[in-house]
């Protein structure tokens, strides 16, 4: 064992111990725990505080939707949970252990821009993540085909990203994330860049997909209606420097758009965000 490998294992061990001491709870497998996270970044010498004392917990298999005013740091939170960034202070625990910076095999992520590799076909785009994880080519292709079928894009297996519409590209991005069979799924406003009708359709399809694997989901969105439709729990953030304002649970009957319960939930969430629900005439 190389010295650096040994010391990183040591570091990890002491980090786990520290976490277990600080957090007097039962951490369970499949749980995402954000514990007192602060985050700052500096551009051109200026420091900006983005997240201040953010804490919440997502139970295994739960879908948590994070909503908040734009620029409040929701995307940064996602980056931290994904191990793309290291928090300035605080910890994020997955499976009871702190999230590692860099490659993380347990998660899949979909971004606001689909981020498909333009030089690869749709099928290859979905398969590449599996190839990186060591799947042989034939298996990777087979799994990719399966997930493309699930999102309804089997006919476009051999097309190139430039030939796809926005909604289709987003579907491929989600198929790519799901094909990794992640236990933690992170989504950064994945339906924000498509038109309203496509968005509603994608929300429906997405719910169906989640039912297949039941990962733990952290879903960032600016659309409150979307959050109610998809989330088991809504995490409402404040403006920057953002902290958690409220955590609002969503019950099954509140998802029905024609129900009074839905309207109440919508009003409740909007009120948190400082938006009035009564749009009556102003003259």
């Amino acid at each position: 064992m190389t010295p650096s490998a040994a010391s990183s294992i040591d570091e990890r061990a002491s980090a786990i111990d520290r976490a277990k001491q600080e957090v007097a709870r039962n951490t369970r497998e499949g749980e995402l725990l954000v514990d007192r996270v602060f985050h700052r970044y500096s551009t051109f010498g200026r420091q900006t505080e983005v997240l201040r004392d953010v804490s919440f917990r997502i139970a295994p298999g739960q879908v948590a939707c994070v909503v908040g005013p734009s620029g409040c740091g929701k995307s940064t939170l996602l980056g931290l949970a994904a191990g793309l960034l290291r928090p300035t202070a605080g910890t994020i625990l997955w499976d009871g252990a702190p999230v590692v910076i860099g490659r993380n095999r347990h998660l899949g992520m979909a971004f606001q821009q689909p981020g498909l590799f333009p030089w690869m076909s749709v099928r290859k785009n979905v398969a590449i993540g599996l190839r990186t994880r060591g799947y042989p080519r034939r298996d990777a292709r087979r799994i990719a085909d399966e997930f493309l079928h699930t999102v309804g894009l089997s006919d476009f297996k051999d097309a190139y990203p430039s030939q796809l519409s926005g909604g289709m590209a987003q579907r491929v991005g989600i198929a790519r994330a799901l094909a990794l069979r992640p236990r933690l799924l992170l989504l950064d406003e994945p339906f924000a860049a498509v038109d309203a009708f496509t968005r509603l359709k994608l929300q429906q399809e997405f719910k169906a997909l989640l039912a297949l694997t039941r990962p733990t989901v952290l879903f960032v969105t600016h659309d409150v209606a979307e959050a109610i439709a998809l989330g088991d729990v809504i995490v409402v953030m404040t403006q920057r420097p953002a902290t958690v304002q409220r955590i609002i649970p969503v019950a099954r009957e509140e998802r029905h758009r024609a129900s009074a319960a839905y309207a109440r939930k919508l009003a409740e969430t909007l009120e948190c965000l400082g938006v009035t629900s009564d749009m009556g005439d102003e003259h």
Partner: protein
């Protein structure tokens, strides 16, 4: 999405998320200095190693010898040689840029003329003006005319593209404003086309600085009777390697100074063009 981009930008260097010990600018400076120091050290080592029978390159003077030669040159002929080269360059550059502006304007606006002659210009453009050196010597001999012709041709070939582009590219909304204001053909030309073309010509002229200055040295290497290039040949023929390197450095420094001066002037004269000009580098 701004926040994740800013955060991610420092993913490769995670310490940026912690409070930085040194501001990025200071760090860039220090690293740059370190890099230069390493390069000079390698140079010195190579010159030591090669001095004692290192094969083909049996003469690599170290930095100190070159600096000594540089000082010696600076206190003797550098000024006059530099002036001679600059004279050739200045005349050629002005002539080349001016003619490119005129020809480009004409070919750009008169679509018939453009259709006839622009393809020919496009065909000749890739053939660098340096290919013309022997012909230029046959035509003009070894004198000033020959060198000015070559530099002018090089500059012309670069600037003409900008001039034609500039004469075409009047923004659509300015055209509409001109129509609304009821301008006639001449007024449009004077207020819209001309300034636009000139702005592009200026940008192109700066890009042509490097091409033109490089052509000066080739012209002077072949027709070696005056200027930095001539000096370069002279010291080459007397096997004075350190003087050769010193002269090369002078040449590069002059080119760098001209580029910097021109960029500075461009920023002052056309601040609204600043960002585009930066991209043209």
């Amino acid at each position: 999405m701004a926040s994740i981009d800013n955060g991610i930008a420092s993913t490769v260097d995670i310490s940026a998320t912690a409070s930085p010990r040194l501001s990025p600018r200071v760090r860039a400076w220090l690293l740059g200095l370190a890099g230069t120091a390493v390069a000079i050290a390698v140079w010195s080592l190579l010159s030591h190693w090669l001095a004692h029978g290192g094969g083909v390159i049996n003469r690599l003077p170290g930095p100190i010898a070159v600096v000594r030669e540089l000082v010696q040159y600076a206190t003797s002929d550098l000024a006059s040689d530099l002036l001679a080269s600059l004279r050739v360059f200045a005349i050629g550059w002005l002539v080349g840029a001016a003619s490119a502006a005129l020809v480009g304007l004409a070919l750009g606006r008169a679509s018939l003329l453009g259709g006839i002659f622009l393809p020919i210009v496009e065909a000749i453009r890739p053939v660098s003006s340096i290919a013309w050196v022997p012909l230029s010597i046959v035509w003009f001999g070894f004198g000033l005319t020959s060198k000015v012709f070559l530099v002018g041709l090089a500059v012309f070939l670069v600037v003409i593209v900008y001039a034609v582009d500039g004469s075409h590219r009047v923004p659509a909304d300015l055209e509409r404003t001109a129509t609304m204001l009821g301008m006639n053909e001449w007024q449009r030309f004077a207020s819209l086309v001309l300034p636009g073309t000139l702005a592009e010509v200026l940008i192109g002229s700066r890009v042509a600085l490097t091409a033109g200055w490089g052509t000066v040295i080739v012209a002077e290497l072949v027709a070696a009777n005056s200027g930095l290039g001539a000096h370069l040949i002279a010291v080459e023929q007397s096997y004075n390697v350190s003087a050769v390197m010193a002269t090369m450095i002078c040449f590069a420094a002059a080119g760098f100074a001209m580029n910097a001066a021109f960029t500075f002037m461009e920023q002052r004269l056309m601040p609204w063009r600043h960002d585009r000009a930066r991209q043209e580098r």
